[in-house]
């Protein structure tokens, strides 16, 4: 099956800093999603982005399907951005998740 690799595994930022999270996958995919898992475990949808670029407030994402990667960009980070960010791709019917990037934003 498809392998999904996320980098970096851990990231510590000062409030106000910008960051880029990376997701690489090993084969072509039908769709790709980015999630933020909050400290209570809820997976919050950030982007549904099989290809192209989308922006939502301080967050933006780009997927280049032909190069098998996606990036999540967080600008002007806030402490509430802390948590684990997952990239997930659909391989046939099932969604395969990366191991996540744990982001800590310090005040």
């Amino acid at each position: 099956g498809i392998q999904v690799e996320q980098s970096p595994p851990d990231l510590i930022l000062q409030e106000g800093a910008n960051s880029t999270l990376r997701c690489n996958f090993s084969d072509s995919v039908n769709n790709l999603q980015w999630f933020h898992q909050n400290p209570w475990g809820q997976l919050i949808n950030l982007f549904y982005i099989p290809s192209g670029t989308k922006q939502n407030g301080r967050l933006s994402a780009t997927t280049v399907a032909t190069e098998r990667y996606s990036s999540l960009y967080i600008s002007s980070s806030q402490t509430t951005d802390s948590g684990v960010y997952f990239c997930a791709v659909v391989d046939n019917n099932d969604m395969r998740f990366g191991a996540g990037t744990r982001l800590t934003v310090k005040p």
Binding site: Q33, G41, N45, F86, A88, D94, F97
Partner: protein, 113 residues
């Protein structure tokens, strides 16, 4: 609420017991998925329903795990003869159809003592 709901939120059981976990998908979503998340890892796929039928159950770890969706809406994940290794958060997701955006419930944290 319009989101995916799961009950119970927490379940503690003893080794060898039977448990049922329930998922209520978003109204109108035909696709429903179950995942399992262990501590420090990403969710892992268990089973996918399209309507009432299990279209892909390749992620179920063994025959102690079974899931149903008899009317194409609510789904129940059933685990027989629970083992300590079954302890995890069980997540349910739904989507308008196959290969559409998936929306997740809050999960059921299962602890097997």
């Amino acid at each position: 609420g319009a989101g995916v709901s799961q009950t119970p939120s927490n379940k503690v059981t003893e080794k060898g017991k039977y448990v049922e976990l329930r998922c209520d998908p978003i109204s109108g979503h035909t696709a429903l998925y179950w995942y399992r998340q262990s501590l420090g890892q990403g969710p892992e796929f268990l089973i996918y329903f399209q309507g009432t039928g299990a279209a892909d159950d390749s992620g179920l770890p063994n025959d102690r795990f079974f899931a149903v969706r008899p009317e194409g809406s609510v789904s129940t994940l059933k685990i027989q003869r629970t083992e300590r290794g079954d302890s995890a958060v069980y997540l349910c997701a739904s989507s308008p159809g196959a290969n559409n955006e998936q929306f997740f419930g809050p999960g059921t944290r299962l602890t097997v003592l």
